[in-house]
């Protein structure tokens, strides 16, 4: 290989003028994590709502829930981001559209929204599976005790579900972090985008991508370790089966 390695490039000042190349990549990591954090909040909130909706006795509720999940699961994330970023501002009333287009950090908001909604469908799927994995007897017993549907979910089903689906949710969280990279297509300067622009400025492509790769692996490891620890403290005794198939083998 006649590629000229130059690791010193990391400590040279980047043309962006805000510090070294390494700092540029780290700031990319911060954007990745910030975007992923807010997207994950959206994913959890909507995902749990939709997941519950899909298990309710109401037919309409189930239909809406299923339609939601199918919509977000069958369109590539990249296309969904384009829909939010390019299409929606054109379809809303003109003054709203203009306001949307002039938002500072529009790529960030769109990234959060797009990745969040995309992931919410996957969270909803986990929540539904979790609820359906509980013995039907629990639901029946709650009804027999005179609980309303809302009470059944609030006090009986959901406390169990959250503990059971914690391991698969961890891997969805890791997917959320990875998926923020797709938002580079709408101009979000997250980690992969920074590595790419470092390559364009400095031509040291492999140094840039190696550091980005290491940062992703490191993030992945930290999140996994933290979640494993949390998982141990909340695991339901006797429900070992679920934690056996945590991702990141």
């Amino acid at each position: 290989m006649n590629y000229k390695w130059n690791w010193g490039i990391l400590f040279e000042v980047s043309p962006e003028g805000k510090g070294t190349y390494l700092e540029m990549l780290l700031s990319g990591l911060m954007w990745t994590l910030t975007t992923a954090f807010f997207a994950w909040m959206i994913a959890l909130l909507l995902g749990v709502t939709i997941g519950v909706l899909r298990t309710l006795p109401s037919r309409t509720g189930r239909f809406i829930g299923n339609a939601y999940v199918e919509f977000f699961r069958n369109i590539p994330l990249l296309v969904q981001l384009f829909l939010w970023y390019f299409v929606v501002p054109e379809l809303v009333p003109e003054h709203v559209g203009d306001w949307l287009k002039q938002l500072p950090n529009a790529a960030f908001y769109n990234g959060v929204l797009g990745v969040g909604l995309f992931m919410s469908a996957r969270v909803a799927e986990q929540v539904r599976t979790g609820i359906e994995s509980l013995p039907v007897g629990q639901r029946m017993a709650s009804t027999a005790l005179g609980m309303t549907t809302a009470q059944t979910y609030r006090y009986v089903l959901m406390p169990m579900v959250f503990r059971i689906i914690f391991p698969p949710l961890t891997s969805e969280l890791l997917n959320t972090i990875k998926n923020t990279s797709v938002a580079l297509t709408i101009g979000l300067m997250e980690l992969t985008a920074r590595a790419r622009s470092m390559q364009e400025f400095s031509f040291q492509v492999f140094e840039a991508f190696t550091v980005a790769t290491l940062l992703y692996l490191f993030t992945n490891m930290i999140v996994t370790i933290l979640m494993r620890r949390l998982e141990k403290s909340i695991a339901v005794p006797g429900y070992l089966g679920t934690s056996a198939n945590v991702v990141v083998h």
């Binding site: 006649n2 069958n74 369109i75 384009f82 990279s181 797709v182 790419r196 992703y216 692996l217 083998h249």
Partner: protein, 229 residues
């Protein structure tokens, strides 16, 4: 809202969208699925083998690939392949690798990690007694795997493998970052040329939805048929 919708732009660019774009997407999906399943099966066999070196290699490979975003991996291979080609052929300059080739290698190697997890589960689901019985009959490793274990694993895992290939189909849209003309690439080129972003992106979303949703319905039916045994 849809009053100034220009449906004609879709009709006008139909041949470009489907003959150039969609055929690229489908070809990439098909070839990468095939290569991904073969490589994934090899990785799964390595992980389940008794040789520690092979186990370690396969585990590390799968874990690293699964921790990285596909976009980053696409860039990696795009820049790395010319050098790998040069090294393999021993030539003087980095080899020129076509865009399609680059995408194909990337998706095959990337998805192999995901396919290998599916195949591993499938192989492990075959009762170990069958392995032992086959060995007792004097079969060699490749015979046991080839005639007894893998056929059952493939059969049981077909729905999951197909579901993964639907995900792969959607993921191929990411070759957009290399400015290739897959279906989305074609749609976006038309969109920018004619200033018709709204129409083209809604249409692209619709096409992806119809294909993915239709395929996943077929997989569900297949799953129901396999389940009744």
């Amino acid at each position: 809202m849809f009053s100034n919708f220009d449906f004609d732009v879709i009709a006008r660019s139909w041949p470009y969208l489907f003959k150039d774009g969609m055929s690229f997407t489908l070809m990439l999906t098909g070839l990468a699925t095939g290569a991904g399943i073969v490589l994934g099966t090899i990785l799964a066999l390595m992980r389940l083998s008794k040789f520690v070196v092979l186990q370690k290699f396969a585990t590390t490979y799968v874990n690293i690939i699964r921790s990285l975003p596909l976009v980053l991996v696409i860039f990696w291979f795009y820049f790395l392949l010319p050098y790998i080609g040069q090294w393999v052929l021993g030539s003087e300059r980095p080899m020129a690798v076509g865009a399609f080739m680059s995408a194909l290698v990337t998706f095959s190697l990337f998805e192999a990690a995901y396919f290998s997890e599916i195949m591993r589960a499938g192989i492990q689901a075959v009762p170990s007694g069958q392995f032992a019985a086959a060995q007792a009959l004097g079969m060699r490793y490749h015979q046991v795997m080839g005639y007894i274990v893998l056929p059952q694993a493939f059969r049981a895992m077909t729905p999951l493998l197909l579901t993964q290939s639907i995900i792969l189909f959607q993921d191929t849209s990411l070759v957009y970052v290399l400015s290739l003309t897959d279906f989305l690439g074609a749609a976006s080129k038309v969109a920018q040329r004619d200033g018709r972003l709204v129409e083209m992106y809604i249409f692209a979303a619709l096409v992806y939805f119809v294909i993915s949703f239709g395929a996943s319905m077929l997989v569900k039916r297949l799953q129901a048929r396999i389940a009744v045994r």
